[in-house]
Symmetry: C2
Subunit: 322 residues, 2 copies
């Protein structure tokens, strides 16, 4: 006998008790009630089965983890602290028992690690053949948001986290299925299945960063967002991206270009930003790379070539016509 | 040539400029930034094509209106004022041109009427056969939320708005299709296609209401939520529901029971609550009915019968097994 919506809501509210005292009313009333300090920040991101995840090689726990992680990355990219989340799930009723508990297990572990309360949500049935849809709205708080538009002439361009690994992991999963998880490139596969937002870097960079964005749609595309948002030229040295030896090896095995993965692969959830060079030099952050410089002008340029070349925009557009 | 996700985001942000100064950063950065006053309130609700709406008799404008209206109703049910909304749309790319502009037109008219800023969202493609999914997260503000749990002995049970009309409208649309809109029962059809949240009643009732809920899943089910949340018995007189003559006529035409629509139909978005009788007597609110009394005990009872009968719970569960 399947659970009703009401029974699921009761089960879920037992799995995700609030982690702090900011929540006055959690799951179970018409809406949640919570306190916030400073400015509020809000973002929403959606994962669609068959587009953003595939249960033939993803566990429900991994979908839950990823659904929150991609939103944590957006909140980090504002230099904000995450606080409250609302979760919407759409799925065929017959698939709920095998998906919902694992999904919430993966999501709630990450929520607790990041001080996020699950304060509400929605569970809707869909027809038997409909793909699952997972939407997370994540709220946060900040005293001083860092926008895409603040890059200044002379700033260095910094990158926190690896790029290209998630795309490599996806290629490996598509080629080998879930056994890729235990294979020689397991760190790449993990980057795809369990992406980690760079939330712990935020307190270290928030005071000095002038511009900030997360690398969800591919590094090249995000560089253009910063460049256009700030009306500045970005000069990038692609030899400073720090592509790891496992990325290079996997590219060779699969006959792919590792730099293409790094620039256009997407789903990396690294943080990309600009700040004064003297500030960045003080940061002690694992995975920090300085990859370029902000100049007067426009466009994104590969600075290490003569004559310099414009970086192709590319990008990972979830909505391109098929 | 279809628009990309980025082009849609740019188009949408032009359609829905912020309506007040609380929004510091709107659509276009990694997350929105806004100020709030008092306590924050948050809710999310999802409409699934084929489950909650059917484009064979709904316009995209009506889906947009309804997607926001159902959330406005939840915020009103906390005695809160709506403030900021985030919209997630999942649909096949080929259907975007015919749906997205109308959807946002319907949604943004209602948003402006209610002082709601559209501060963010998401647009995801799905496979050609996937149903559309619309999720709205709505935030609000209040100084004193009114919960489901506050009903007191001796309170009167009040209802603001009509019940049963949305269910009747759905039955008419399923029977006659969109031509029902111009027919003799057009007000019932309108209740289904363009539900109105009782937001304007909130300032009038917030000081006196002890308990509050919105009637989204059927009056009987919501009465049980209040009764169980407040640990009180509710005694209801169903002759006070104020079922209109058009509802009674439509029921006769379709061979249905109007009281069943009123108690179990759902999607009415009326406000149901309890407050002291002397306060309710002062209210001048269109559509206000006093339908019962709060007693010591438990359960929901039909008080006008001797011996009194327990009201069957029923309800409109979106997640019952098929």
């Amino acid at each position: 006998m399947s659970k009703t919506e009401q029974q699921w809501i009761e089960a879920i509210s037992g799995w995700v008790p609030p982690t702090d005292t900011s929540v006055l009313v959690g799951i179970g009333d018409d809406a949640a009630v919570f306190e916030s300090r400073g400015l509020n920040v809000a973002t929403t991101d959606t994962l669609v089965e068959g587009v953003h995840f595939d249960l033939s090689y993803c566990l429900p726990e991994e979908v839950g983890h990823k659904a929150l992680a991609v939103n944590l990355s957006d909140i980090a990219a504002m230099a904000a602290r995450p606080s409250q989340a609302l979760i919407s799930l759409v799925l065929p009723a017959a698939r709920a028992e095998s998906f919902v508990p694992g999904f919430y297990a993966g999501l709630s572990i990450l929520a607790r690690e990041n001080g996020v309360n699950i304060i509400g949500g929605n569970l809707s049935r869909a027809s038997v053949t409909a793909p699952m849809v997972v939407s997370v709205t994540l709220l946060g708080e900040t005293e001083r948001p860092v926008l895409r538009s603040g890059a200044k002439v002379g700033d260095v361009v910094f990158l926190i986290g690896d790029v290209g690994c998630a795309a490599a992991g996806l290629a490996l999963l598509r080629s080998e299925g879930r056994k890729a998880i235990g294979g020689p490139f397991k760190d790449l596969v993990r980057a795809q299945l369990r992406p980690e937002a760079q939330t712990s870097a935020v307190p270290l960079i928030e005071a000095a960063a002038h511009a900030l964005i997360d690398v969800s749609d591919g590094l090249a595309s995000e560089l253009y967002h910063l460049s256009e948002g700030s009306r500045m030229a970005f000069e990038i040295d692609t030899t400073h991206l720090g592509l790891g030896s496992d990325l290079l090896s996997a590219a060779q095995v699969l006959g792919q270009d590792p730099l293409h993965w790094a620039l256009y692969g997407g789903e990396d959830y690294a943080l990309l930003g600009t700040a004064p060079a003297e500030a960045v030099a003080q940061w002690r952050i694992p995975g920090l790379k300085t990859i370029g410089t902000v100049r007067q002008g426009q466009g994104v340029w590969i600075g290490s070539t003569t004559p310099r070349k414009r970086l192709a925009r590319g990008g990972h557009d979830h909505f391109e016509a098929p």
